[in-house]
């Protein structure tokens, strides 16, 4: 097996508070600007998605996601905050982050 090993400190927790779709992201850095905590810094390469450098400070206010003009950015809750629900008629359990989640609920107006 050929995998490179890196001498890096342990990842922070949460390690990735936002995930950005490089296809959709234009590198406009709106998220960098709306974030009160400066969780993200602009990518040194113009047009590239920003880098989440202080994920441990995220307050999960979600402004970056709400204000993203191309909806390229998603908030990722830390694992210990991924909550669950129960479908009333079937009694099934679901939780945020589960494998094979149910389809997104797009029923208007919610």
């Amino acid at each position: 097996m050929d995998y490179k090993a890196y001498m890096v400190p342990n990842p922070m927790t949460p390690g990735q508070v936002v995930s950005i779709d490089p296809e959709l992201c234009t590198g406009c850095n709106t998220c960098v600007e709306v974030c009160r905590l400066d969780v993200m810094v602009p990518n040194p390469e113009k047009g590239k998605p920003p880098i989440a450098i202080y994920p441990d400070e995220c307050w999960f206010c979600g402004c970056c996601a709400s204000d993203c003009p191309t909806k390229a950015l998603k908030i990722e809750y830390p694992l210990n905050q991924r909550v669950g629900w129960k479908r009333k008629d079937t009694g099934e359990y679901f939780r945020i982050g589960m494998k094979n989640p149910p389809p997104p609920n797009t029923r208007p107006p919610v």
Partner: protein, 651 residues
Amino acid sequence: MTTWHDYLKEQGHAPDWPYPIRFDKEQEIDTDVLVIGGGISGCWAAISAARQGLSVVLVEKGDTIRSGAGGPGCDHWCDAPANPLSNVDPDEWAQHMADHPYCNGIGIQVQCREDYDTLLEMEQMGGKIRDTGDEYIGAQGRDDKTKFMISPRYTRIHSYLPEDKTKGEKTFSSNPDQKLNNVVIRVWGTTFKPALKKECKRLGVKIFDRVMVTSLLTENGIQGARVVGATGLNNRTGEFMIFKSKSTVLATAGAGSIWLISTELGGYSNMMSRTISGDGTVMAWKAGAELTKMESTGVLGIATGYKHKWYTGAGDASYENVPIVDANGKVLPYPIQGWVDAGAMMPYPGVEKAVREGVLKGEYALPFYGDFPAMPDVERRATWKLMLGEESTTKIIIDTFNKAGYDPGRDLLQSYKLIEGVSLPQWREAGYGGGLLVDWNLKTTLDGLYAGGTQMFAPEDHSYAASTGRYAGRKAATYARQAGESKISREQVDREKARVYAPVKRSSGMEWKELHAGIARAMQYYVSEFKTESLLNMGLDALRKIEDESVPLLFALDPHKLMRSLEDTSLLTYAQIITQAMLARKASSMPLNFQRIDYPTLDPPAWNKFLTIKLENGKVKTGKLPLTFWGNMKNQYEAHNKDYTGVYKRK
């Protein structure tokens, strides 16, 4: 590639700092009115000051577009008794709110008189406050003429410390046949903050984002003298800012996470964001302003990173009308903050006890759920999309739930009541009312210094921050117009500069998180649930040790970490003020959530008073004020606002 580790992995080295480094460089700004803190209160202050035609500078640690506890949104416009649908008289409602001991009668009166005017102005700026899209026709509380959505909150019951139902209920002489009070309006608050920033710009307010204000400047640098400006640090470039002003409005809110920091889930350490670190209170303290109620703390109930995130569990505030059921679908006697229970906010202690015992007896099975499917469609949408969808930090929560496939029409949302256990009593929260003492002009005890929102003692909520900010801006402008020029003291600036930059002169030592955790530990240890003279004194000693031994070790590798380090020094001073204030109160108190082992009697009459605290020539000085030092609320308000024309007067 969005994590720093990914970048490192791909590039083999860390990215260069993305902003120009300007440590030590100076920028000087002159203005009539300086507003410190660009949250809800600060923006409103800047706007109403600018409307008086003065030059206004607004300084914000984050970015004004979304900063502050109310930046992401707001679902309840609370306590707007002057609105046309209200059935109570604003002054009577204010008086009723002020029945709560250790409240701020001045701020409350301002809120009750001006909240509705403020809301209408919000609408003029582009904020959405009515159901203009007719999404909620048929929802209870919707007025089809005005399209206002009245919230069930406080419709009948409005009590802060409900012991039993009857104490919560109140008949108002202005509402003799007990119609619903209709004092709380549901709003689309996610639209507010961007509209406020836009209005600031339109009015020519100079906004300095990403600048952390580090100290107030006083006339000739003397403690207790008139406030003539402030110093700041750009937390991206490290540049030093000197602001010169005729009058100043302080609106940076109180302090969070003094008793607890989860070092990695740091953003969770409090319901407030990390940015709210007591800077304003501390800089005012150092300048000699008088504070009060600083000894009041509460158990840190929520969202410390060791618990579920606030609002992700059904039953938290904003979950209006959502019945809480147990694992078998049995409905719990919790209030649902809805029309049926007249909008009661929290369960009566008796109910809470009954539920706990019921769980132990196997009467109710854990876990509990929020039964959205049981609600009528329109009410469910009103709660899920309007309330949760528009409240601070919660829009993203429902978006995430929706993406994950949660369907309120079919799904029970898990509640964390009881299953996640209780917080340790030694994890406490300062966000329980300590702050700047103000007069009927919302002026602090220092000339030229005004305060708005949660910067004041005993503050309330979002709409309170808005209306008091708006009021403080008005008053600060009036003062600035007649105030003479003033000189800042270079020596004071240089002293502050040396303090601010000390951590970047080191590249190793103690990082900000360890210092924060150390402060929190000292507080948990000595300034916690049970207090005694000796413990509090040891607490002061421990904090002093941290100040003398650890703060000089602080190191910061970039402007961001420098800001965090300075925030810690604020928290440290804030902790010391709290401890001093606690030493001054030699009695236990229920409403202040204050237990002294050495003075166990609860609320002895002799101690039913505000304790004030300030620095005078570097010495701590404490004083006292009667519980209603503000006098007759209605008369005082009118005496101080003869020229004010608002909806209420027109009515």
